[in-house]
């Protein structure tokens, strides 16, 4: 669609033949055009508004309305069906943070687990995806095939994959069987990797990283391919080996990509919960409960308890945390790039 400004419609240019033919006021084509101009502009305006209307309505309904609704709900007690909300002010926030023994301890545990996930997932994702991208970038054969293979976890991620992981991690699952078959049975987990409270959260972190690596690797690969070869050649001429080149030249050059990878994974770690819902539902006990899962539980798994306001309040607390992280990340990006 063209967005170039249209020239103003003048009487001269609008009239065929270049000038007015009918001397009577309001009788010539120019006058007729002048009369029709406001009408046409009205049509144009209406058409324009109608064209953008679907987006505006969607944004208003799905964006502004729900955000405003959710914010108000965080100050109310409601189960989703009762005729009226009960306004409780900031009590929901207080209950979640310290006041109510039903919610505060769970939220505190979930916050701690979420923090572990937020620290581990971005770090491990970078640690795995950057070397993988460097290796893939230097591969001379089958680069496309390898790239597709490494991208498989991303395109197959979903409920089915999480169920598959569950089977793999069971007491009689593939990982324990493999460990036993290679003589490392002492490392196997008799209760399953998700059944032992000490291995459950680390295992969930590994599964999350497995799903996050493909996109991060692809981003690094894009960054690596945009590095000017002369920079790398200059480093090599100066005697830098493979390690030195990657550590001192390539790594600093892809730092903006690292910042994005870290930010995206921080956000996912803070808000994501689907993997946890499907694979552990926060268990065993509450050893893998995370904040996103707790918000979901309060919203939808409380059997019509009036906890939708609490879920909304927790959602806003998560939003505040995400905002702080985004600002910190922005600051880091500004100072380093």
């Amino acid at each position: 669609m063209t967005t170039a400004p249209r020239p103003a419609l003048s009487a001269e240019t609008a009239a065929p033949g270049g000038g007015p033919r009918d001397p009577r006021p309001g009788a010539g084509p120019a006058a007729r055009a002048a009369r029709l101009r406001p009408r046409r502009r009205g049509y144009e305006a209406v058409s324009g508004w109608l064209f953008v209307a679907p987006a505006v309505v969607l944004f208003a309904v799905m964006g502004l309305y729900t955000v405003g609704y959710g914010f108000l709900l965080s100050f109310a007690q409601w189960n989703g069906f009762a005729a009226h909300w009960t306004w409780v002010g900031i009590q929901n926030y207080k209950d979640l943070l310290w006041a109510d023994p039903r919610y505060a301890p769970r939220v505190q545990h979930a916050a701690l687990h979420t923090l572990y996930v937020m620290l581990a997932v971005p770090a491990l994702t970078v640690l795995v995806s950057f070397p993988l991208a460097v290796l893939l970038n230097s591969a001379r054969r089958m680069q496309t095939l390898l790239r597709s293979v490494y991208f498989v976890p991303y395109v197959t991620s979903g409920i089915a994959v999480f169920f598959a992981w569950q089977y793999i991690l069971q007491p009689d699952g593939a990982i324990n069987t493999l460990l036993k078959s290679v003589g490392m049975g002492s490392l196997s987990q008799p209760q399953g990797w998700l059944g032992n409270p000490h291995t459950a959260l680390p295992t969930m972190i590994v599964v999350t990283v497995w799903g996050a690596v493909p996109v991060a690797m692809l981003m690094y690969l894009t960054g690596l391919q945009s590095i000017d070869r002369s920079v790398l050649e200059a480093a090599q001429l100066d005697g830098a080996g493979w390690w030195r080149t990657n550590f001192s030249v390539v790594w600093p050059l892809v730092r903006p990509i690292t910042a994005i990878v870290v930010l995206l994974n921080l956000r996912d770690s803070l808000q994501g919960f689907q993997t946890f819902l499907v694979m552990t539902n926060g268990g065993p006990g509450d050893h893998t409960n995370v904040l996103g899962l707790e918000a979901y539980r309060l919203a939808f798994l409380m059997d019509l308890d009036p906890t939708l306001g609490l879920a909304s309040a927790l959602g806003w607390l998560l939003f505040a945390a995400a905002l702080v992280i985004a600002l910190i990340n922005l600051r880091v990006l500004r100072s380093r790039t």
């Binding site: 058409s47 069906f81 939808f300």
Partner: protein, 479 residues
């Protein structure tokens, strides 16, 4: 793409309406119409279809029990023959998905006419939110008299339930005394242990244990015989199962009714941190070596499936478990069933497990055929229909079947119902929550208990202390 109302040079002069001009205008009008419709679509999508289906000759019913579908469909066929009314049965599961489905349908006005619900919990919550219809005026004594005595009040807002509904954060808040939101459909109890007769026989076990100690000895025998498949499965991913299905009946039989109630009281000398509390937790912790590996990450259905598949020799469930086992290929006659036995030195060595209504039937408030829906519910409560359903679904119906009950339900289910028989003093009543603090959250308590066993993260003393602390905080909050 180029928008049709471009510069004047491309525009025919005003007044001279050419063919292309007409086409342009028509195109524009069509585009405007399409865009208008599109822009209104999200708003239209927010509306619902409104009300339940049919012309009164077709009813819709939803259940969360796949094992009930065949029995209900058979009953529906008989109902159609008698009344000409068709009942369409649909199952949605598991429980969480069903709850979400019902809530979503209520929002979009797509509810069916009849819902099968969890009795004395979900039904009242649905009633308080206006999803379930108050049927107290329609269930007369001739209808209510068809049910077993112990479950006749199920679905009714009793004075005790009304009291519990008064706090604003109660899920039943808003119900009125005497209202009724469901009639019972199936009954039974929790805390039933099932053993695989063949596996048990291989370990030398041929009869149910008489005491908790005997059961522990049996567990030792089966796990010695099969270390990985000789244990007991329980769906501990659903957090409350360890507490409500196992530990509480055990505590009741060990301490007796009053001391069991006192565990949840405010007196520190009697709560979970007390000597009595420690005794109960110590007994419960004795199950630690015998859990099926990984049972803590299984939900109820998958734990039952594990038992049916021979991954465990024992399974803890309820009277409703047998139907699921049968559905998963297990012959009910291969199952040895008994209530969790009491410790030999306990206050109630031979406890009975009180029956309660497990599921009920609710008419939705949006049903435009509520009279027919109630006719269907009453039809299901007739002894002949309930007997047939019991056979088809391997379930204990809420209807009083009289002396023929054992014959109708088969020997294993009859064994289970034998655990119901007891006196008020020796019967553990799972539906009684009058002694607990208002706002009591069993999931949080169960998470602490799970750290004792099977997770083995806390000692008995630490578990008791943590449970007492949480219980006290519920009391404090209630003040």
């Amino acid at each position: 793409m180029r928008i049709p109302f471009v510069g004047p040079g491309a525009e025919p002069s005003a007044g001279s309406v050419t063919g292309s001009g007409r086409r342009t205008r028509r195109t524009r009008s069509t585009a405007l119409a399409v865009v208008t419709v599109l822009s209104l679509a999200p708003i239209a999508a927010c509306g619902g279809s409104g009300g339940s289906s049919g012309n009164g000759k077709t009813l819709e019913m939803w259940t969360f029990k796949q094992s009930h579908v065949a029995g209900l469909r058979n009953a529906a066929a008989a109902f159609k023959k008698q009344t000409g009314i068709t009942v369409k049965i649909t199952a949605y599961g598991p429980d969480d998905a069903y709850t979400t489905k019902v809530q979503a349908a209520a929002k979009t006005h797509d509810l069916p006419d009849v819902l099968e619900v969890h009795s004395d919990g979900e039904d009242l919550a649905l009633g308080s939110t206006g999803i379930a219809k108050d049927i107290s005026q329609d269930v007369d004594s001739s209808w209510n008299g068809l049910y077993q005595k112990g479950v006749q009040a199920s679905g009714t807002v009793t004075p005790e339930m009304y009291k519990e509904s008064l706090p604003a954060d109660s899920k039943d808040h808003g119900v009125k005394k005497g209202q009724r939101f469901s009639v019972p459909f199936t009954s039974g109890t929790f805390g039933i242990v099932m053993g695989n007769k063949k596996v048990l026989a291989a370990a030398g076990i041929t009869k149910p244990p008489a005491t908790y100690e005997e059961w522990l000895a049996d567990l030792k025998a089966t796990t010695a015989k099969n270390p990985t498949t000789g244990g007991v499965s329980l769906g501990l991913k659903v957090k409350a199962t360890g507490m409500t299905w196992t530990m509480q009946p055990l505590a009741f039989s060990l301490l007796g009714k009053d001391k069991y109630h006192a565990l949840f009281g405010q007196n520190a000398s009697e709560d979970f941190s007390s000597a009595d509390g420690q005794k109960v937790l110590s007994e419960y912790a004795k199950l630690q070596p015998y859990w099926m590996p990984g049972t803590q990450i299984l939900d109820i259905d998958t734990a039952d499936q594990a038992f049916a598949q021979g991954k465990s020799a024992w399974d803890i469930g309820g009277t409703f478990t047998l139907a699921f086992l049968q559905q998963n290929g297990m012959n009910p006659d291969d199952v040895m069933a008994f209530g969790i036995p009491g410790p030999a030195g306990g206050a109630v060595p031979k406890p009975a497990l009180g029956p309660l209504a497990l599921t009920g039937l609710t008419v939705t408030s949006t049903s435009s055929h509520s009279a027919n829906a109630e006719k269907w519910m009453k039809f299901l409560s007739q002894p002949s229909i309930a007997s047939k359903f019991a056979k088809d679904a391997t379930e204990v119906p809420a209807t009083e079947l009289g002396a023929d009950a054992a014959q109708v339900m088969g020997p294993t289910l009859a064994d289970m119902t034998r655990t119901f028989v007891g006196t008020p003093e020796n019967t553990y009543d799972p539906s009684d929550s009058s002694f607990r603090p208002p706002g009591y959250d069993q999931d949080s308590m169960s998470e602490i208990l799970a750290d004792l066993t099977p997770l083995h993260q806390k000692s008995v003393a630490a578990t008791g202390k943590a449970m007492a602390k949480l219980n006290n905080s519920f009391w404090k909050l209630a003040k």
